[in-house]
Symmetry: C2
Subunit: 232 residues, 2 copies
DNA sequence: ATTACTACTTACCGAGTAG
DNA sequence: TCTACTCGGTAAGTAGTAA
């Protein structure tokens, strides 16, 4: 589970608890002085003293304060706090990234998408690298909000799935990159970005095995939601 | 490595960074409002605003603030902070517990240690569970400091390696528990505690495969340092 | 809606110190 | 030495508000 409730208490005492754990107070009673802890945490001896009193009051540590120093042991409850943070951090680092959501409005291009998509060297790579034979044509989406444009910029920076350029007798076709995507929560497809040339940054083009306009019943002006997968 | 340097900065901003990471800002630019973050962290919108400005200044996040909201991405440096805390926590939870150190002063008992240790049912269990055949005799240590007595109490609470009691024709021998230990940093041995009966809480008894007094050159009054292993 | 400034308040920290 | 109290200054958090 992901959901770590971040209370004020946790924010205040987490690192004190951490230092105690580092000193072995999870496993056994450790002896230390408030001055020592203060140096470790870059705080004053007095502040640590207050912290320890509070930590004991909320039941995260058990403690005996003597003239010789403080004997401290982290309780099960305190240990649980550390475990929670650890689990939450591990979860964040191990989960797979959530997709980028981009929304845009359907509009008709000049029909040149169909031409490019059907060039055989491109098509072969789409099949091989994306896992589908694209419908001859692209779905053009106009991005309007600041958010969507920012997300599209994000894609420009990413590596994605690279489709190499090539040349035929007449001209050169530039390299392109793709991101697998899901359209309107249902249809598999891919967002496709020209690499070198400077397309309009407020537009994205989507290819898919099916004819998206038909299968999703889309008309110009309809809003479409695209989930763009950054990996896989 | 264990050593996490806990700076003020880390203490101040760790949980903000955590929440951002939870929202996916490690992998992509995320959009959010200061108000939203404020609720997550139980702070005011204004405070979050200041935090984000600071986080950007120290280079832990990159950010674009617009009327629509804030676009935030954690930088490599920010990611490193999270990784450090994660690694430190994982280390603490995965390392094997460090031994308890108890120091005491050698004194002569009444010699009854030798009698108990050589009772065959005890001896068989020592060999089986501790991995050595104990020298017939115990090394008695008197604990003086508050610290050492506290540590001995700690042992009383622990489970340790249990040696079962038994009866012969004449009497009953109670159960005992042991902790593997190292004496004066060199000699293998075990601390031995009677389970039910109430021994003097300021004394520990050590058994070992060798005659510790001889091999360590100990006389009454010498100080001895015992590392007590809690597991294994 | 937002962000983030200024002004204000508060609660927190640490110096001094007792036990 | 230690811990932990009182207390005053101030840094940190928030309310109001502009953009």
């Amino acid at each position: 589970m992901n959901n770590l409730k971040i209370t004020k208490t946790l924010q205040d005492y987490f690192f004190v608890l951490y230092v105690l754990a580092e000193l072995g107070a999870r496993e056994k009673t450790v002896k230390l002085s408030t001055k020592f802890l203060a140096e470790k945490l870059d705080l004053s001896q007095q502040t640590i003293s207050r912290y320890l009193i509070s930590l004991e009051r909320i039941g995260w540590i058990r403690r005996t304060a003597t003239r010789e120093g403080s004997f401290i042991r982290i309780t099960d409850l305190g240990d649980l706090q550390l475990r929670k943070v650890r689990a939450a951090l591990n979860f964040i680092f191990e989960r797979k990234p959530s997709p980028i959501i981009i929304e845009g409005t359907v509009f008709s291009g000049l029909g040149e998408g169909a031409y490019y998509v059907t060039r055989e060297p491109y098509r072969k790579q789409f099949i091989e690298k994306l896992g589908f034979d694209p419908y001859p044509g692209t779905l053009n989406l106009k991005l309007t909000s600041e958010y969507d444009i920012q997300m599209r910029r994000e894609l420009e920076v990413r590596s994605g799935i690279e489709i190499h350029g090539f040349s035929d007798a007449n001209r050169t076709y530039g390299p392109v990159k793709c991101f697998l995507a899901r359209v309107n929560g249902k249809e598999k497809g891919a967002v496709i970005l020209a690499l070198r040339t400077h397309y309009d940054s407020s537009v994205i083009e989507v290819i898919a095995p099916k004819h998206l306009r038909n299968v999703l019943g889309l008309k110009d002006g309809n809003r479409v939601r695209v989930e763009v997968f950054l990996e896989g």
